[in-house]
């Protein structure tokens, strides 16, 4: 059996976090979800610092990255991820409230794997995640 690596969810909105967790569960995704509440925390996690000192060296399976975050925004985290050899290959899905072209372009430039405008209903979110079955790092319960 292959190693089940965790999903990193970087999201400052409690509602969005909850909805995402529910939607992932509804899709029967078995990967553990590590929730990081803002950009700073995400950087600490990536650098194995703060509360993350001594965490296992496992690479995440997927990073779900909200764009608009306090202090350190999503683009900066993406930049930090891509500049770190350990994370440079990891799939990063940007979750954005809007489809602003400038953000899409920036995401592309910085090496986001995909760009998802947060669906305006839960059902749509569930449908969106169901398309992630193609991501081999994810483990869906049969």
């Amino acid at each position: 059996m292959k190693e089940v690596r965790p999903i990193l969810l970087v999201e400052d909105s409690q509602n969005d976090r909850e909805l995402m967790l529910l939607a992932l569960r509804k899709n029967r995704i078995l990967n553990e979800v590590i929730v990081l509440r803002d950009g700073e925390e995400a950087l600490l996690y990536l650098g194995r610092a703060g509360q993350w000192i001594g965490r296992p060296m496992t690479k995440p399976a997927l990073v779900l990255l909200d764009l608009k975050l306090p202090k350190v925004d999503g683009m900066q985290i993406l930049e930090a991820l891509r500049s770190n050899v350990a994370f440079s290959e990891i799939r990063v899905v940007i979750l954005s409230s809007s489809g602003e072209q400038v953000d899409r372009d920036r995401g592309d430039r910085l090496g986001a794997s995909s760009y998802v405008v947060k669906p305006s209903s839960f059902q749509e979110l569930v449908r969106e995640i169901s398309t992630w079955k193609v991501f081999e790092e994810l483990v869906f319960e049969e």
Binding site: L22, S96, Q123
Partner: protein
């Protein structure tokens, strides 16, 4: 020898004479006019020169007086003659003596005597008092006050010219008195005139500089009074001692004889006597008061003194008046251009303002034509070259000389093309408003010949014997014309100065306007950036709560304890409302983006676009039957994304508002106009009341309830914004229950 040959020969001789005239040493003619007698004495009172008519004085032959002692010759005249003569020491200064009464053969003849020292000689000249006008000093001084009084009243230089001419005529009794003014190139103009009725008018007549050659002008400057008493009389030779020769310098002499060319000129004018008083302005010969008389005329010494005085008074007043008129001109110019600049700074339309003042501008600068070339526009007023010629001129101007102000009084000598319009615009005064955009304001002055009023004497035949034909005013006029062909009146210093100021004023206004525009655009950019930040923020923050409401309501729906029909209806209403609010935010953002992004114009085939959009909107109207009538449409230059959105809005509206019709009809057509394409989308739907036509295109303006027809109320506002960003216009037509039509244009 045939007559023709003889004429040729005399013509040749005459030409030679004219050529020599310019070089003729007129200050040493070797002769005097025959109405007076001249003696020249050395410092020992020895008569070194004497005119051959000296015998008239005391009956002693002139040859006997030559070499004799003047003291001896005039023994007995110590008090009135010899004594005063002994006091004359100043070089070149003419002194009038008291009348000398000389007895000869039992009768007494009165002579006026005048003397001066020049080049080691004392020159004494006698004229008979008899027949002279204004003999007694009382007459003269009685006439003066009136003149002085009238001088005070002269308000302008032309008043002064006219008045002086009249007064000199009145005082001296000459038939015609002219005020003759030199221009800076020594051409002459008659600027004032008083004359007897039977004398032709020379007013505004022009003379070429060659008519009064340099050495003649020099004599006029030195010796301010000149009398030719009788042009018809023979001049009298001056005898000189063998040791002296005949080269007596008569520069200051009052009896100096007249050049034959000048005599001929006078005769051709029908004049026998002439008198002139030089008008000086500082060291420069300004002009002459020139008097003509039909018959021989002698003028007394006192009269000369008075005329000289008149000349000086004239000169003083002239200076004052000229200074005043320059000042007035400057003030007039200043108040003129100030008004223009003031109104320019208040109004946005530059060219319009300048043109509104074009009459005033021409009047101020004594121009007959005016042009403004600004921002690629070219407007002409009055007498000007054609637009193409003005544009070409401006092109040439931009590479010549003074970059700010350009003046010429002979355009054809500056630009070869100028030859074509030289008659109407020999003079050009141009100020540059912008070098980069080649913007100029120009004034045009016609060739001076075009504005001269003198027509010559219509009574006199023009044709004379060929040899003399050149020596008459009409010939002078013709010659003058040749010398000023292609020339306008020169632009005065005050005028050039004024245009410089006007230019500064205009440039200031232009710069200020540019600064205002720049600060406006900075402001605009700032507010655009703010708007961008705002809408970015809104798109993220405002969407989230709607998303959450919808999502949680959906989750709530799934909860097993909420199963009543009512609860489900409430929840679905929450979801629908939140969706609608979310859509509103989206369209509002799209609308604001429509105003911000730059246009990406490409060639768009309207047929294809309409087809695609039609299929797209019909996806939301499945099951409906709509008849589409679509004309063959053109290709336009537009931002494809934006235009698609506009068309989408229009077609979606048409589909939406015909939804209650069984026989829905939607027409899409166009018309080609001069500078634009006109498109329309017409339907037979619910229509609208034309009273609300204006409201239709506003943001969030609805004419129907959302219950009746869904929609955000932004569609047409978007259409208008998109079309206007393409430089087009939008409007609508509607009739309740009949249908609606929406029109928009796109520039071609």
């Amino acid at each position: 020898m045939t007559r023709e040959n003889r004429d040729d020969e005399s013509e040749e001789r005459f030409e030679r004479m004219l050529a020599e005239c310019a070089k003729e040493p007129i200050h040493v003619p070797g002769t005097v006019q025959n109405h007076g007698i001249l003696f020249a004495l050395d410092h020992n009172w020895v008569v070194t020169h004497v005119s051959e008519n000296a015998d008239l004085l005391q009956g002693i032959p002139a040859s006997d007086q030559l070499g004799a002692s003047f003291l001896h010759l005039f023994k007995g005249y110590e008090q009135e003659l010899l004594e005063p003569l002994s006091h004359i020491s100043e070089e070149g200064h003419l002194i009038s003596l008291d009348t000398v009464s000389i007895a000869i053969g039992g009768s007494i003849t009165q002579y006026s005597a005048a003397a001066h020292r020049y080049h080691e000689k004392l020159i004494v000249e006698f004229e008979r008092v008899e027949d002279q006008v204004l003999t007694s000093s009382e007459d003269v001084y009685a006439l003066l006050p009136t003149f002085v009084n009238r001088l005070e009243w002269a308000a302008t230089v032309s008043d002064l010219y006219q008045m002086t001419a009249e007064e000199v005529k009145r005082i001296t009794g000459f038939h015609r008195v002219l005020i003759y003014k030199f221009d800076e190139k020594w051409n002459g103009t008659v600027v004032g005139e008083a004359r007897s009725e039977d004398f032709p008018s020379y007013f505004d007549l022009r003379f070429p500089a060659s008519d009064i050659p340099e050495q003649a002008r020099r004599l006029y400057s030195i010796n301010r009074f000149r009398l030719i008493a009788d042009a018809g009389s023979e001049s009298v030779a001056i005898m000189g001692l063998a040791t002296e020769g005949k080269t007596l310098d008569l520069t200051h002499s009052i009896l100096r004889s007249v050049s034959p060319v000048h005599i001929q000129y006078l005769k051709n004018m029908g004049i026998t006597a002439s008198m002139s008083v030089s008008i000086m302005q500082g060291d420069r010969l300004w002009g002459l008061i020139s008097c003509h008389h039909k018959v021989a005329k002698k003028v007394s010494v006192n009269a000369r003194i008075v005329c000289d005085l008149l000349g000086r008074l004239f000169s003083q007043h002239l200076r004052a008046l000229e200074e005043r008129s320059v000042l007035i001109q400057k003030l007039t110019l200043k108040s003129g251009y100030d008004a223009v600049i003031r109104s320019m700074s208040e109004e946005s339309d530059f060219v319009g303002t300048l043109l509104r003042y074009s009459d005033r501008m021409m009047e101020l600068f004594e121009a007959h034509g005016f042009a403004v070339v600004l921002d690629g526009k070219c407007a002409l007023r009055g007498l000007t070259p054609t637009e193409d010629e003005v544009r070409a001129l401006v092109e040439s101007l931009s590479v010549t000389g003074d970059p700010d102000v350009y003046t010429t009084d002979s355009i054809r000598s500056s630009f070869p093309d100028g030859e074509r319009y030289s008659a109407i615009a020999s003079g050009v005064l141009a100020i540059s408003i912008s070098h980069i955009h080649k913007s100029y304001v120009l004034w045009f002055r016609p060739e001076v010949i075009q504005t001269v009023k003198w027509g010559g004497d219509p009574k006199k035949p023009v044709v004379m014997d060929p040899p003399q034909s050149r020596l008459q005013p009409r010939a002078s006029f013709e010659l003058w014309k040749e010398t000023v062909t292609g020339k306008s009146l020169p632009w005065s210093e005050s005028e050039v100065e004024a245009t410089r100021d006007l230019r500064h004023g205009i440039v200031d206004v232009v710069l200020r306007r540019a600064e205002e525009l720049a600060s406006l655009s900075i402001e605009l950019e700032r507010s655009n950036r703010e708007l961008e930040a705002f809408s970015y923020s809104v798109s993220h923050d405002l969407r989230a709560p709607f998303r959450h409401i919808i999502s949680y309501a959906e989750l709530l729906e799934e909860e097993s304890d909420i199963q009543s029909e009512r609860s489900r209806r409430f929840i679905s209403t929450i979801i629908a409302s939140a969706r609608q609010a979310g859509n509103l935010v989206d369209s509002l953002l799209a609308f604001s983006q429509m105003g911000r992004g730059s246009l990406m114009r490409t060639s768009v085939d309207m047929n294809e676009m309409v087809q695609e959009v039609r299929e797209d909107v019909m996806r939301d109207a499945i099951g409906r039957t709509i008849e589409w009538r679509i004309s063959s449409l053109p290709t336009v230059d537009a931002d494809v994304m934006m235009l698609r959105l506009a068309i989408r809005n229009l077609l979606a509206n048409a589909v939406k508002f015909t939804s209650k019709r069984k026989d829905a009809l939607i027409e899409i057509g166009w018309e080609e106009r001069d500078s634009e394409h006109l498109f329309f989308v017409r339907d037979n739907g619910v229509g609208f009341d034309m009273a609300f036509e204006d409201k239709l295109f506003g943001v969030f303006q609805r004419l129907h309830s959302t219950e009746e027809f869904e929609g955000t109320g932004i569609g047409l506002a978007n259409v208008r914004r998109i079309v206007s960003r393409h430089g087009g216009r939008t409007w609508g037509w509607g009739e309740v229950d009949k249908g609606a039509a929406f029109f928009f244009t796109l520039p071609r």
